[in-house]
Assembly symmetry: C2
Homo-oligomer: 354 residues x 2
C-alpha cells in the first residue's frame, strides 16, 4: 500500500452476535458479521471511513440508487488457515476493478488506502467470523451506491462506500447444469457488461428463472448479436476443455474480467496446460460434445470458486459432460484453494496476510 | 378502475413545508411534497399502502437494491387548470408499463387499484403543490425496488413500492443539441432496454457526460451492433421530420415504449400528418440534412414534453436544424399540453380528473 487512509473511526459493538450463528450450516451471504465499514462521498471528496456496528442505513426516497441504478460492487473472500491467520486473495485486483466499474458508472473512484486499510481493519475486528470449515469462507462485499438526491437523470453528487462481511458456505450445492441462452442477453457492445454494476445482475434474473424452471442452475450468455459466441455465466467466467486444450473467451466490454479466470490462466501456464483465449462458438462446443472431444466445462469465480458443469442444454437437447477422475477443474480448484487457505506455497504472490 | 385498494392508511404531516418553496424558480425533481405513498411487498403479497409524511427510509446494507439493481420506475405528471382542478395524462398506461418492467426485472406486479387509488389519494392530499405556472407541473415518481436481504444474486423476497411527488420546472433549459453515439450503447438485443429500470440510466451517464463535455445536451442512441439505426435518447423517444413525413423508430426490446411517442403518433394521424414507424438510419438523416429535406428533429417524453432539437453532431460535424415558424414540434406540444392542462377538448380520452 502506498498511502494510509485517514485514521479510520471505529465504534465497536457492545455484544457480539457470533454465538447465534450456526457455522456448520451456513448459506451463501445471508448472515452478517458484527461490524461494517461506511465511507461517505460528499462535497467532492471521500470523508473519513467509519467502522461501526452492522446496522440499517437511512436514505431519502429520492436517492439516485432507487431510480437510476448507479451502483457497483466487488466480491472477495477471507480465508483462515490452521493457525487462525487470515488471508486475502489478490485484493488489489478487486480494488482496481472496483475503480474500473466506478469510471464506467460515473461514480468517484475510491482511493486504494481507503479500500485496503478499511478492509483489513474490518476483517481484523471480525476475524472470529471467518469460518474454518473447508469450503466455507468469509465473503466480503465492498460496494458503492448513489445516495445523492433528485429525479434528474444524471450522476449523483453523494455516494456511500460500504464493506460488509458474510460468513458463507458454498454458492452452488450439487452439480451445475447450464442452459446456453439464445433469446435473452446480458450485455451490449459498448454497454456496461464489463462493470460489476447492479443492473447487469437484475437483468439476468428473468432469463435465469426461466432456465431454472426447466431444471438448469445457470444461464451461459452468448453475444447479443449472433448468440453464437459463448461469453460467461451469471457470476462466473466459463472454461471449456476440448481434448487437452483449455479454452476461454477473451474479455471485452461485454464480459467481466474475472480474477479467478485470470488466475486459472496463469496456473495453467505454470502447469504446462495448453490454453487458448479466443472466441469459442456454440456449434464448436456442440460438435465437440458429439464427437467426444469435449472433456470439461467449468465456471470460475470468487463465489463459486471452480464449479464443474455436469451438463449443458442447447436448443432442447441436454449434453452431458463426462465424469473425469483427474479433471482440470479439480486440479485448479485444489491449487487455488491451497493458496487461499495457506496450505501451499504461493509462487504467484497472490495471498495476502491480513 | 375495476377494484379498490384496501383502505389506504393515511398519516398527515403536522405542518406543511409548502411555504418554503419558491414556485417561480423550480428546478426539475429536486423539491418534494409533504407526503409520499409506501407499500411493502412481503410474505408473497403487497401489504396495505400507507400515505405518510415524506421521510427517509431505512434499509439493511444487504438489501438487494444496493447490489443487484432490481428497480423499476415510472415518470408521470399532474397538471392544474385555471379552476384549480387536477388532471393526469393516460395514467393507466404508466401502470401497465410499470408491470411490464416488473416482469422483466422479476419484481412482483403492482395491482392496478394500489397504483391508481394510491396515486389519486396522494395527489389530492398534496394538491396545493401542483404548480400553476405554464411549463411547470407536479412530477410524479412511482417506483419499486428490492428491499429483501442477502448477497445471493437472485430476486429478492421483499420489495418497496413508493410514490413521491416533486413540483418541477422544465427538464431542459434552452435548445437541445444532441450527439449521435457510435461507441457506447444503451441496450442489447434480448436485454432490458424496454424496461424502465435503473441500470438503463446509470449506463448512459458516462457517454452522456462525454457528450456534454463536447457541448451537447443528450446522446442519441443507435443499435449496439451496427450503430446505424437511430433508436432513442436518454429520456425521450426521437422523431425525425423529412419533408412533411414524420418518422420514428419502431419500439423493440431495446427501446422504451414512450407514452408521449404514441400520443404524438395518434395526434399526427388525427391532424393528417403522414407518419412512418420504421427503421431510420443515421446516413439517411445526414443525407437529408445535407440536401435540405430534414426539417425537424425532436424528442418526446413526459419530463421533456416535446423538445425541439437545434442541432445534431455526427462524426465530428454538427448539423443545424432549420428554425421553422410552424413546426410539427410546436403543434404537437400545444395540442398535448392543451389536453393536459384542460385547455381544450380531449378527443382521445387521455385526460383523467383526479
Ligand atoms: C458476471 C461475473 N462474471 C465473472 C465473475 C467472476 O469474477 P471473479 O473471479 O473476479 O470473482 C463474477 C463474479 O465475481 C461475475 O459477477
Ligand atoms: C429511455 C426513455 N425513453 C423514452 C421516454 C419517454 O417516455 P414517456 O413519453 O412515456 O415519458 C422516457 C421517459 O419517460 C425514457 O426514460
Amino acid at each position: 500500500m502506498e498511502t494510509t487512509a485517514t485514521a479510520i473511526k471505529i465504534e465497536k459493538i457492545k455484544t457480539s452476535k457470533i454465538s447465534q450463528v450456526d457455522f456448520d450450516n451456513l448459506a451463501f451471504g445471508s448472515v452478517f458479521t458484527d461490524h461494517m465499514l461506511v465511507c461517505d462521498y460528499k462535497n467532492g471528496a471521500w470523508q473519513t471511513p467509519e467502522i461501526m456496528p452492522y446496522q440499517a442505513i437511512s436514505l431519502e426516497p429520492s436517492a439516485k440508487i432507487f431510480h437510476y441504478g448507479q451502483s457497483i460492487f466487488e466480491g472477495m473472500k477471507a480465508y483462515k488457515d490452521d493457525h487462525g491467520d487470515a488471508f486475502l486473495f489478490r485484493p488489489s485486483d478487486n480494488h482496481r476493478r472496483l475503480n474500473i466499474s466506478a469510471n464506467r458508472m460515473c461514480i468517484p473512484e475510491i482511493p486504494k488506502a481507503y479500500f485496503m486499510d478499511g478492509l483489513k481493519e474490518l476483517i481484523n475486528l471480525d476475524k472470529d467470523w471467518i469460518p474454518q470449515k473447508d469450503g466455507s469462507s468469509l465473503y466480503i462485499r465492498p460496494f458503492i451506491f448513489a445516495s445523492g438526491k433528485g429525479f434528474h437523470a444524471s450522476p449523483a453528487d453523494e455516494y456511500k462506500f460500504l464493506i460488509c462481511l458474510a460468513p458463507s458456505g458454498a454458492y452452488f450445492s450439487g452439480k451445475v447444469k447450464v442452459l446456453i441462452e439464445e433469446t435473452y442477453s446480458r450485455s451490449a457492445n459498448g454497454g456496461v457488461g464489463f462493470a460489476k454494476t447492479g443492473g447487469n445482475y437484475a437483468g439476468q434474473f428473468f432469463p435465469t428463472q426461466l432456465a431454472v424452471k426447466e431444471g438448469y442452475n445457470q444461464v451461459i450468455w452468448t453475444d447479443d448479436n449472433t448468440h453464437e459466441n459463448i461469453e460467461e455465466a451469471g457470476a462466473m467466467n466459463i472454461f471449456i476443455r476440448i481434448n487437452d486444450t483449455l479454452i476461454t473467451a477473451p474479455t471485452s466490454d461485454r464480459i467481466l474480467d474475472g480474477i479467478t479466470r485470470k488466475s486459472i490462466l496463469e496456473i495453467a501456464q505454470a502447469e504446462g496446460i495448453r490454453t487458448e483465449v479466443r472466441k469459442i462458438t456454440v456449434p464448436e462446443v456442440v460438435e465437440a460434445a458429439k464427437n467426444g472431444s469435449l472433456k470439461e466445462m467449468f465456471g470460475a469465480g470468487t463465489a463459486a470458486v471452480v464449479s464443474p458443469i455436469a451438463a449443458f442444454g442447447y436448443r432442447g437437447t441436454d449434453y452431458d459432460l463426462p465424469e473425469l477422475t483427474d479433471s482440470y477443474a479439480s486440479r485448479f480448484k485444489k491449487i487455488i484453494t491451497d493458496i487461499q487457505y495457506n496450505r501451499s506455497e504461493d509462487p504467484f504472490g497472490w495471498r495476502q496476510k491480513v
